[in-house]
C-alpha cells in the first residue's frame, strides 16, 4: 500500500507535465492511427485481395487490431528511451525524487504506471478512430486496447531497464532501426507470419509484438482458443515482470550508489 502510494506520486508528476504539454503528443496520438489506417488500410488495402489466409475479411479490418498493437509498441519504444535517460541525466527528475522518501524501485513503478496509462489511452484513441473509419470488424476489437497496452509494456519494461544503464543515447537509434522497425514490419501486422521463411519464425515468436497481434486479432475475429491466448498473455506478463525486476536493479544502481 505504502509502495503504491509512493509510486503514484511519480505518475502524478508525469500527469502534471502532461497537462501542460498534452497538445504536442495529442496530435501524434490522433494522427498516427488516422494516417496508418487511411494509407495502409483504405489506400493500400483497396489493392489487396482478401484471402482465406487472412480469414476472408477486408484488409482494413485485418489490419486494424494489429496496428493498435504495433503503434502501442512504437509509442512504448519512444517513452522508454529518451525520456528515461533524460530523467536520469538531463532533467534529472528521477534523481530529485530519489532524495525524497520515494525509493528507486518506486520511481520505476511510477514511471511504468505512467507509460502503461499512455499506452492504454493511445490504444483507446486508435480503436475509436478505427471504429469511425469502419475498420472495426466487431466489438472484440475493444480488447486490442488491453493487448496493445500489455504488448507495449512487455517491450517497454526491459527497454526502460536498459535505458537506465546508459550514459549516452547513441544506441537508441540502433534500437529504432534494427529492433523496432523489423518488429513493426515482420511480426504479422501487415501479412501473416506464415509467409516468412521458417528459420525466422523463432525470432518472431520472441517479440512481444507477435504475441500482442495474435491476441488482438484473435479477439477481434473470435479465432483464438483459450489455451494459446493464455500462453500469449503469460509470455507478455512474464516479459513485463522480468523487465521490471531488471529495472528495479538498474534504477537502484543508478540512483542509490
Amino acid at each position: 500500500m505504502q509502495t503504491l502510494r509512493a509510486s503514484w506520486f511519480g505518475f502524478e508528476k508525469a500527469w502534471t507535465w502532461y497537462r501542460r504539454n498534452w497538445r504536442a503528443t495529442a496530435v501524434s496520438s490522433f494522427l498516427t492511427p488516422v494516417l496508418f489506417l487511411v494509407a495502409l488500410g483504405l489506400g493500400f488495402g483497396s489493392q489487396v485481395q482478401s484471402t482465406a489466409l487472412i480469414g476472408g475479411v477486408s484488409y482494413l479490418e485485418y489490419l486494424a487490431p494489429a496496428l493498435v498493437v504495433v503503434t502501442a509498441i512504437q509509442g512504448a519504444t519512444f517513452d522508454s528511451t529518451y525520456p528515461i535517460m533524460s530523467q536520469f541525466m538531463w532533467q534529472k527528475s528521477f534523481v530529485a525524487m530519489a532524495a525524497t522518501p520515494i525509493t528507486p524501485a518506486q520511481v520505476l513503478y511510477g514511471q511504468t504506471m505512467w507509460i502503461g496509462s499512455q499506452l492504454f489511452a493511445r490504444s483507446a484513441v486508435f480503436v475509436a478512430i478505427a471504429v469511425v473509419l469502419g475498420a472495426a470488424a466487431g466489438p472484440g476489437i475493444l480488447l486490442s486496447i488491453v493487448f496493445g497496452t500489455l504488448a507495449g509494456l512487455a517491450f517497454s519494461a526491459p527497454l526502460v531497464a536498459y535505458s537506465a544503464t546508459l550514459d549516452k543515447p547513441d544506441s537508441f537509434t540502433t534500437i529504432f532501426r534494427f529492433v523496432l522497425m523489423p518488429m513493426t514490419l515482420f511480426t504479422g501486422a501487415f501479412f501473416p507470419v506464415s509467409q516468412l521463411p521458417d528459420w525466422l519464425l523463432p525470432v518472431v515468436w520472441l517479440t512481444p509484438a507477435w504475441h500482442g497481434i495474435e491476441l488482438a486479432r484473435g479477439a477481434t475475429f473470435g479465432t483464438i482458443d483459450l489455451l494459446p491466448a493464455l500462453g500469449h498473455l503469460v509470455y507478455l506478463v512474464a516479459l513485463t515482470a522480468a523487465g521490471i525486476a531488471l529495472g528495479v536493479k538498474f534504477f537502484h544502481r543508478r540512483l542509490a550508489v
Binding site: F9, Q91, A99
Partner: protein
C-alpha cells in the same frame, strides 16, 4: 538527541577508488556545519551518504539517530537536499515544482498548495510563480531548488556547493536566505570549495582532502591554529627570480604567481622587506583566511 549526524570511521569506495577514507564527524542540532575542500576531496560522496541516497562502504553512520542503511526513506522524509546540480522540472512552472515535490513527501494537495505559497515568498519568486522554470536565471533556479528542499520542513538541510556558478549578487542573496534558515533553527550542512562561503556560513567545519579530514574547528579557530593573523602577498615581475624572504615571516608560501608571507603584522613586514631593497611590483596585506589554512594543511590552493 543533540547530534543530528554521527559518523565514525565512515568510508566510501567506488570499485578500487576510495572516495572517503574513514572520517569522524558530528553535526550538532542548530549549527551550520561545513565540509571544505577541493573538488574530489570526498565532500559530495559524504553528503550522498548522509542524505541516504548512497550506501556506506564501511564504518558507522547515524542520521537523526537512525541508520541510513535500513531507514533511508524515514530519514529522507525529515531532511532537505540541495544537490550540486539543479534537478528542477524545468518544463513545469515554479509553483508546480514546489507542489509536486511536496507530494513526494506524501503531503496532501491542500498542504502542498499552502506550502508552495509560503516558499515562493521565502525564495522571492512569487512574481514568477506561474512561469516555466527553464528560462529563469541561475540564481533564481538555485533559490527555487533551496525552497523546494524546504517543502517538508526539514530538521536538517544538506547543501552541496550551493553557490557554485552564481554571480556575487546572487550568492549574497542566497546566503541571506540560508542565514534566515539558520535563525529559524534549521541545521545546515554545507559543502563548498569557497573559503568565503565557509567563513560566512559555517559555525564549525572540517577541511577535507583526499577523502580524509585534515582539520576541524570553527573558522576562526582554524585560522588561529594553522595560520598567522595577517598575510603579506607580494607579486614580482613574471619570470623574475623570487627572493628568499624566509627570515621576514613565520612562514613563506611560494605560489606560481606570488609569495605569501605569514606574519602577525603585515605592514611592518612589508616595511622590512622594502628596507632590504626587495621591490615587488605589487603588495597586499590582508587577514588570514581559510584558504591559508587549507594551503598550510595540504600544500595546495583550494580553487585551482
Amino acid at each position: 538527541m543533540d547530534n543530528l549526524v554521527e559518523a565514525k570511521a565512515l568510508t566510501k569506495h567506488f570499485g578500487s577508488f576510495e572516495a572517503v577514507r574513514g572520517i569522524d564527524v558530528e553535526v550538532r542540532r542548530g549549527e551550520a556545519f561545513g565540509f571544505l575542500g577541493p573538488n574530489g576531496a570526498g565532500k559530495s560522496s559524504t553528503m550522498r551518504m548522509i542524505s541516504c541516497v548512497s550506501g556506506r562502504t564501511g564504518g558507522e553512520l547515524k542520521v537523526l539517530g537512525m541508520d541510513p542503511g535500513t531507514e533511508g526513506p524515514k530519514i529522507r522524509a525529515r531532511i532537505g537536499v540541495v544537490p550540486q546540480l539543479d534537478n528542477l522540472d524545468t518544463e513545469l512552472t515554479v509553483r508546480q515544482n514546489l507542489q509536486i515535490y511536496g507530494r513526494y513527501f506524501g503531503m496532501s494537495r491542500q498542504k502542498c498548495r499552502e506550502k508552495a505559497e509560503e516558499l515562493l515568498e521565502f525564495a522571492q519568486l512569487a512574481e514568477r510563480a506561474d512561469h516555466e522554470v527553464e528560462p529563469l536565471s541561475g540564481g533564481m533556479k538555485r533559490r527555487l531548488t533551496i525552497a523546494r528542499s524546504l517543502v517538508n520542513d526539514p530538521e536538517l538541510l544538506l547543501l552541496d556547493e550551493p553557490t557554485t556558478g552564481l554571480d556575487p549578487q546572487a550568492r549574497h542573496l542566497l546566503w541571506d536566505r540560508l542565514f534566515r534558515l539558520k535563525q529559524d533553527g534549521v541545521t545546515l550542512i554545507i559543502t563548498t570549495h569557497y573559503m568565503d562561503e565557509a567563513e560566512q556560513l559555517c559555525d564549525r567545519l572540517v577541511v577535507m582532502d583526499g577523502g580524509r579530514i585534515a582539520a576541524e574547528g570553527s573558522p576562526s579557530e582554524l585560522i588561529n591554529r594553522y595560520s598567522t593573523r595577517e598575510v603579506l602577498e607580494l607579486r614580482f615581475q613574471p619570470g623574475a627570480q623570487k627572493p628568499d624572504l624566509e627570515r621576514f615571516a613565520d612562514r613563506v608560501e611560494v605560489l606560481p604567481d606570488r609569495l605569501l608571507l605569514y606574519t602577525q603584522d603585515g605592514e611592518a613586514t612589508l616595511q622590512r622587506v622594502h628596507e632590504h631593497g626587495v621591490q615587488p611590483v605589487q603588495s597586499l596585506v590582508r587577514r588570514s583566511s581559510l584558504e591559508d589554512v587549507f594551503l598550510r594543511l595540504t600544500g595546495r590552493t583550494l580553487v585551482d
